[in-house]
Each structure stands twice: as C-alpha cells, then as structure tokens.
C-alpha cells in the first residue's frame, strides 16, 4: 500500500515538474523571440539610418566645403558602426561584439551631433528642400532607433526578470538559457552636450 502511495507521489511529482519545465521552456522561448524581434526592429532602423547618412552628406557637401573633416568623420564613423552591426546581427547574444558595436555607435552619434551643430551655421542649408527632407527622415529614424531600443530593453528586462526568478533560475541553464541578456545602451552623445554655448545677444 505504502510503496504504491510513494510511487503515485513520485509520478505526480514528476508530472508536475515536467509541466513546470515545459511551461517555463515555452515562456522562455516566447520571451526570447520577443527580444529577438525587438532587436530586429532596431536593426532595421539602424540600417535605414546608415543608408540615410551618406545621402545627407552628399547633399550638404556642396554647401560645406570648409567642413571636409566633419563630413569625413561622419562617414568613417558610419562605416565602422555598420560593420559592427553586421557582427552583432550574426550573433545577437554575444556580449563582446555588442559592446564593440555600441562604442562605434556612440562615436557615430558624436560625429552626427557635430555635423548638426555645424549645419546650424548655414542658413541656406535649411532652405534646401532635399536637406530638410533628409534631416526630418534622419531625426525620425534616430527617434525610431531610440524607441526600438527602449522597447527592446523593456523586453530584455522582462526576459531577464523571468529567467532569474525562482524556479526558472534553476531550470533555465538546463533548458539552454544559461545567461541573462544584455541591454543595448548607447552613451550620451557627448558632442551635443559639449557644444559651445551660442550667445544669442546681438
């Protein structure tokens, strides 16, 4: 009688743990896919941004012959960031390549901030319809990157919270999720903050 009870208890326990494991696994997969989808969204917007930048540079080049260095910096930072993103896209979970790309991304931010600042000095640039259009597109794309990053980070936080809470934290390594994911952070655009204060007094 007692062995039968014990056997039943073990079977029930096994069943329960199997169910918990299955549901944990499913939840982890769902959350991971949400994160991957979020990253894909950042990826799409970043690519668009990388495509827009050479167009903008091409457009303003004619007006800003004295700012060669600024324009060259933008292009080289853009190329680096693009290469970095290609690395990250191959393996989104890899923290090292993510960090490297984030560095390139923040120097691109600095270069663009510098370009924006310099562009302020050319009123005829603002009057140009194409430039205005490209600037609006670039602004919007940068916002989209920011919002996509925000959404991605929220989803990553959801994934990490779930993965690190009990009992998932014990099961996750067995189910193929040994690590928490890294959030995407891009350092504040130093160039914008350090831009000289323009005196408006005439």
């Amino acid at each position: 009688m007692i062995p039968a009870l014990i056997a039943t208890g073990i079977v029930v326990l096994l069943l329960i743990s199997a169910m918990v494991t299955i549901s944990t696994y499913n939840q982890l997969v769902a959350l991971k896919n949400l994160c991957d989808n979020g990253f894909a969204q950042i990826d799409v917007q970043l690519r668009r941004r990388y495509d827009l930048i050479p167009n903008l540079v091409e457009c303003v080049k004619g007006y800003m012959s004295h700012e060669r260095q600024t324009l060259e910096n933008v292009i080289s930072a853009r190329n680096q960031a693009q290469a970095g993103l290609a690395q990250v896209a191959k393996d989104p979970g890899n923290a090292a390549s993510l960090q490297q790309w984030m560095g390139a991304e923040s120097s691109l931010g600095n270069a663009l901030g510098r370009l924006n600042f310099v562009m302020e000095a050319y009123p005829e640039l603002k009057a140009n319809e194409n430039v205005a259009m490209l600037t609006e597109e670039l602004t919007s794309t940068e916002n989209k990157v920011a919002f996509a990053r925000q959404a991605y980070n929220d989803w990553v936080m959801g994934f990490n919270t779930y993965r690190e809470s009990f009992p998932t934290v014990m099961l996750a390594p067995m189910l193929g999720y040994p690590d928490s994911r890294l959030m995407v952070e891009i350092e504040d655009q130093v160039a914008i903050q350090q831009a000289p204060v323009v005196s408006l007094a005439s």
């Binding site: 609006e136 602004t139 916002n143 989209k144 919002f147 996509a148 959404a151 959801g158």
Partner: protein, 669 residues
C-alpha cells in the same frame, strides 16, 4: 514587461463590469418601452370598449411580453447592425469625421513629420503602424484612434494637431491614442457606441412615428377618407410622444456609465503615453497647448457626439460634469506635472489659416468684396512671428484667403514708395548726420525736444556745446512736416538698433536720463516718450506672463484702446463710431462698448495697456487686425493715429509698425 496581449486580457476583464451595467441599461429601456406600448394599447382597447361594448378585453401581459420581445429584437438588431458597420474598420469613422488618408507621396512637410511620429510611436508600443487620417477642416487640436483590431487600427489627427504641436507634443498625443489601441479600448468603445445606437434607435423610431402622424394630420381634408385617419394619427402621435423620451433616457444612462469609465481610461492612456515616450513634458505640453488655444479641442462635425469617446480631448463643449467623456484638462495636466503653474502654452495661430475666415471677412468689409486685391490694407501691422512654433506649408492651402492674409502683414509697394518719396524730400545733410553716432544721438535728442514739445531751457543739465547743436537742429525740425519728423525718427532709431553695441556720444546719457524723468501729461508726450524709450532700449518693460487666453477677458481694455484710436483717426464722432464697428468685428465681442473721447484719459489708457500686455499672442493678433481695421476705415493715416499706434505698440512691447502720418492705406486715396 509589456506584452500587449496581457494588457488586453486585463482590460477585457475590467470591462465586464461595464458590459453588465450596459446590459441593465438596455433591459431597463426594453421594459420601459414595452410598458409604454402596453399602456397605449390598453388605453386604446379601453376606448374601444367604451365606444363599442362588444370589443374584447386584452390582458396586459399578452401585450407586454410580445412587446418586450419585439423591442428587444429591435434594439438588438440595430445595435448589431451598427457594430457591424463600425467593425468595417476605423476607416469608416475617420472618413465620417471628414478625414483624409495621409500618404507619404502627397504629404506636406508637417504631415510627413506627423507620419514619422506615428511610425516612431508604433515602434515604441510594439504594434503595427496604423493608417493616419488628417481632419483638414479642423483647426482645433484633437486626435482619435479607431478600429477594432490592432491590425486595422486608424489614427486621426486634426489639422491643428499637425500644425501647432511640436514633435514631442505630437509624440505624446499619438502615444496616448496608441494606448487606447493597445488596451483594447477601441473594441469596448465600438461596442458601446453600437449598443447606445440601438437604444437611441427607439427615439429615432418615435420621431418617425411623430412625423407620420403629422403628415396624416396635415393631409388635405379632401384626401382624408374619414375619422379613421385622424384616429391613426392620434395613436401614432401618442406612441411617438411616449417612446421619444425613453430612448433618450436609455441613452443618457448609457452615456453616464460610459463616460465614467471613459474618464478613467483617459488617465490610464495619459500614463501609457508617458511610458511609451518616457517624456511627460510631451503630452503635458500638448494638453497645455489645447488649454491655450481658443478653439481648444472642439471638433466641428455632426458625428462628433457619436465619436466623442474616441477623441484625445473632449470634442464638444456641452459635455461636462457626469457626462464628460474626458477629465478636465487642468486635472490631466496636473497628474502629469504636479508643479504646473496653471499657465497654458500659446501657439501662434497666425501660422495656420485658423483665422482665415476672419481675415477674409475684414478684407471684404474694407473693399466691398474685392478680397483678392493685394493692396487693400496698409502694411503697418507687423506682428512678431517669434512665437510661431510651426507653419503649415502655404502651398498646402491654396485658399484664396491665404494670399490676402499675408498681404496684411507685409510692407506693400506703395507704402515703401511713400517712404522713399519722404526720404528724397529730406535735405541730404540729415542723411549725412545719421552716418555718425554723434549725429544720430543729436538728431534723436532734438527730435525728442520737438516731438514732446519740451522747451530747451527746461533742461539745464545739457552742456552748452551740446545744447547749441540741439538748438541748431531743432529749428529746421520744427519747419518739417510731421511725416518727415516721424521718418527721421525711424531712420535714427534703426541706426541705434544697428549700432547697439557700438560707441555712443555724450548726448546719450542726457537723453536717457531725460526720458526717465520726462513728464507724461499729454497723449503726444506719452506716445513719443514710449517710442523713444523703445528705440533706445531704456528700461524695457519685462514681458508679463500671458494670463489672458480669451478676448472676453480683455474686453474693456481693447474697447478703450480701439475707441481712442478711432477718435484719433476720424474727423467726427460718426466716422469714429463707424470705424469702431468695423474694427470690433475681429474681436467677436457680444456687445462692444464705444467710448467717448472725453471718457478716455491717459490714466485709463495706461491701465488698459497694462491689461493688454498680459494678453496671449492669439488675442494680440486679433487686436492688431482690429487696429489695422481702425486705421484703414478712413483710408488715410492722421498724425494722431500714427502716433497713437506707434506709442501703443511701443508701450505694449509689440512689434512697432512703421506707420507714417499722411500715408494712404489704399492706393490712390
């Protein structure tokens, strides 16, 4: 973690209570309706029995139960039909409200920005990008989300929304609407609107019955067969009168329930907007702009009431208190920004064609309908455009009123020609004098003595050599006409403005102190002292906070200033009154008071100016328009008129028009 399926499930569970209440409302309506019909039928049967004793008695329950069934089916079918219609997608609602689909290819710069903002917020909320409709006829600021599924959602924005809000504010508004999409509020709203339509259809049926009764009643008596038709009309009318309020009461009850939940959802949506944008200033700013805009968030459309629950801010004014669909703006702003000081944000409505109608109106008044004449109004009214946030592409609106609106604010050819003619008439020595800083200051000082009618002897502090120069200049100045002196003042003050940071002569300290202590006992002295102080930037008045957003709040002050100006510009009281009547049209005051000249002393004028300084830019613009109208009423600019307008603008700290005495405000006049 934000996963919108979870949010939707939670929202649906919450709305179960709402559905229960609505079910009670419908059941109540059905029962009351059936009771009314039963009463009518039983009354009829009773009358028949009195008239014809053989008529059988009808037990009321036999009438009541089928009635309940029929009414229930009637309400159910019309609700179902409406919901089905609404289910066709938010598109229908957007088009019903006069929305046009925004497409990238045809969008203006502002509209493109709106499209981009919607895409940005869709990414932040993690939902597909909805179609965007713009309500081009609505100059107010409002937005709505509609559509049953996240996939077929639609975002509608009014023109005011696209034009007046900056990027962050627009993001806030769109994020707020997205949160309605996200929480499945649209699904609930669509169902409620459908159900209420079903309840309301009882009232609509009653109206039909009353119409039919009326038609029978007014039919020519020759076509009336006999008393049977009259009887039918009475029965129809009785049924109609009984049923009519029932639908309304049901509707009112439904609205009450719906409004209460709707207000809560608005707060929730505001909170989500902050979550999506991580920027409470955006949505709070948008709400403040609505608070500062005279047309606010009103949407003028016959469908507004029906769609009131879809809007960003309440779409009609009538709905207040318990029936309000949205919490008061102030409360919403304070929840987002607890330290708000209660001052709304003002946008430059002139940037938009908001007052298109008003402009067109004023022009047709002045020209007798020839509103397309570019040279109708004088150039003098140049409002500062610094407050403008954004301007709509002028190509966007090829409204005829647009081109004329601009002409009011631009210096026209003949005004410039008049200026040039006067400049040519000035002896060359004056032009040379104005080349040097000493000369400019000397001319200004001499002009000040002449214009304010101050004797040179009264100022002993002026050192002798300087006094001699000034005296030498004053003599020819007094010979000049008023127009030349005014022009000279303009030229000199422009010179001062250009050289503000550069050297000044020894005369400047004297002029500054003289202006600080100058007596202001006459209107001429008051206006000129203000002009001089403005030109030399002496003690510039600090800009008070814009405290008045409505014309009615500065009614008295505006009337005083306009009345005084009309007297200044007209040779007799009748002409002045006529000019005043034309001018106040722009202020849309219910009962404008015209003041007599002896009622307006300097003290009163100063009080009025102090009041007007607190007016918001939109009022300022309308007032400038009215002032322009005053000046244009008699087609010529008198000296007093020019002085007064210049002095007023200087005192108010508004852009000063280059109005010259003797200039015409219409060509050839």
């Amino acid at each position: 973690m934000r996963n919108f399926y979870e949010h939707q499930n939670r929202a649906l569970a919450k709305s179960a209570k709402l559905y229960l209440l609505l079910a009670v409302a419908i059941l109540g309506t059905v029962i009351v309706t059936s009771l009314a019909v039963t009463y009518t039928v039983c009354l009829l049967a009773y009358c028949m029995q009195v008239w014809n004793p053989g008529f059988p008695t009808i037990p009321w329950i036999f009438v009541f139960l089928p009635c309940c069934f029929v009414t229930g089916v009637f309400v159910g079918v019309s609700s179902w039909w409406k919901i089905r219609q609404l289910k066709a997608g938010g598109k229908i609602l957007a088009i019903d409200l006069g929305g046009e689909l925004l497409e990238r290819k045809t969008a203006s710069r502002e509209e493109l920005r709106a499209l981009n903002v919607v895409e940005e917020m869709a990414i932040a909320a993690g939902i597909p990008v909805p179609a965007v409709y713009v309500l081009r006829q609505q100059s107010s600021i409002n937005a709505f989300a509609a559509g049953l599924e996240v996939e077929d959602a639609v975002i509608g924005l009014t023109r005011g929304c696209v034009v007046h809000l900056n990027r962050e504010q627009l993001q806030g508004v769109v994020a707020h609407e997205f949160s309605h999409v996200f929480n499945g509020d649209m699904r609930i709203n669509l169902r409620i609107v459908g159900i209420l339509h079903g309840v309301l259809s009882i009232t609509m049926l009653a109206e039909r019955l009353l119409m039919a009764a009326y038609e029978i009643w007014t039919m020519p008596s020759t076509r009336r067969d006999n008393g049977e038709d009259v009887g039918a009309a009475v029965i129809l009318a009785l049924l109609g009168v009984l049923l009519w309020p029932i639908g309304l009461v049901g509707m009112a009850f439904g609205l009450l329930v719906m409004s209460a939940t709707s207000r809560q959802r608005e707060f929730l949506a505001d909170a989500y907007a902050v979550q999506f944008t991580r920027n409470p200033e955006g949505i709070a700013g948008a709400l403040k702009v609505i608070a500062g805009l005279e047309s606010g968030s009103r949407v003028r459309s016959s469908k507004t009431l029906e769609a009131s629950h879809f809007f960003f801010a309440s779409g009609c004014r009538m709905m207040a208190g318990l029936l309000a669909t949205h919490p008061p703006l102030e409360e919403r702003i304070r929840r987002l920004e607890p330290s708000w000081d209660g001052v709304p944000l003002f946008v430059d409505v002139g940037a938009d064609a908001v007052y298109q109608g008003a402009y067109g109106h004023s022009l047709s008044l002045l020209t007798g309908g020839a509103a397309s004449d570019q040279r109708t109004l004088a150039a003098p009214v140049l409002p500062s455009s610094t407050e403008s946030q954004h301007t709509f592409d002028s190509e966007e609106h090829n409204d005829p009123a647009d081109s004329t609106r601009e002409s009011i604010f631009q210096t026209s050819d003949w005004t410039q020609r008049y200026q040039m003619q006067l400049q040519d008439e000035l002896p060359g020595v004056w032009h040379e004098l104005l080349q040097e800083p000493e000369g400019v200051d000397a001319v200004l000082t001499a002009l000040w003595f002449v214009q304010t009618d101050t004797p040179l002897e009264s100022h002993a502090s002026l050192p002798d050599p300087l006094a001699n120069i000034v005296e030498g200049l004053m003599e020819p100045l007094t010979q000049f006409e008023e127009a030349h002196r005014t022009l000279l003042f303009d030229m000199a003050s422009q010179n001062v403005a250009e050289r503000r940071r550069m050297e000044t002569s020894g005369m400047r300290p004297f002029l500054t102190s003289a202006l600080r202590h100058a007596p202001e006992d006459t209107l001429k002295r008051w206006t000129w002292n203000h002009q001089f102080r403005r030109a030399l930037q002496i003690d510039p008045p600090d800009n008070p906070r814009a405290a008045y957003a409505k014309v009615a709040q500065v009614e008295g002050a505006a009337e005083i200033v306009l009345s005084r100006l009309c007297h200044a510009g007209s040779s007799n009281a009748a002409m002045a009154q006529f000019a005043f009547q034309r001018a106040v049209v722009h202020l849309e005051l219910p009962q404008p008071d015209f003041w007599e000249p002896d009622e307006i002393d300097l003290e009163r004028l100063e009080v009025a100016v102090d009041e007007l300084r607190k007016a918001a830019p939109p009022i300022r613009q309308r007032l400038m328009l009215a002032i322009g109208c005053c000046i244009a009423a008699d087609q010529g600019v008198t000296t007093e008129e020019a002085e007064l307008v210049r002095g007023l603008c200087a005192a108010l700290g508004w852009a000063m028009p280059r109005l010259l005495p003797g200039q015409s405000v219409a060509p050839g006049a």
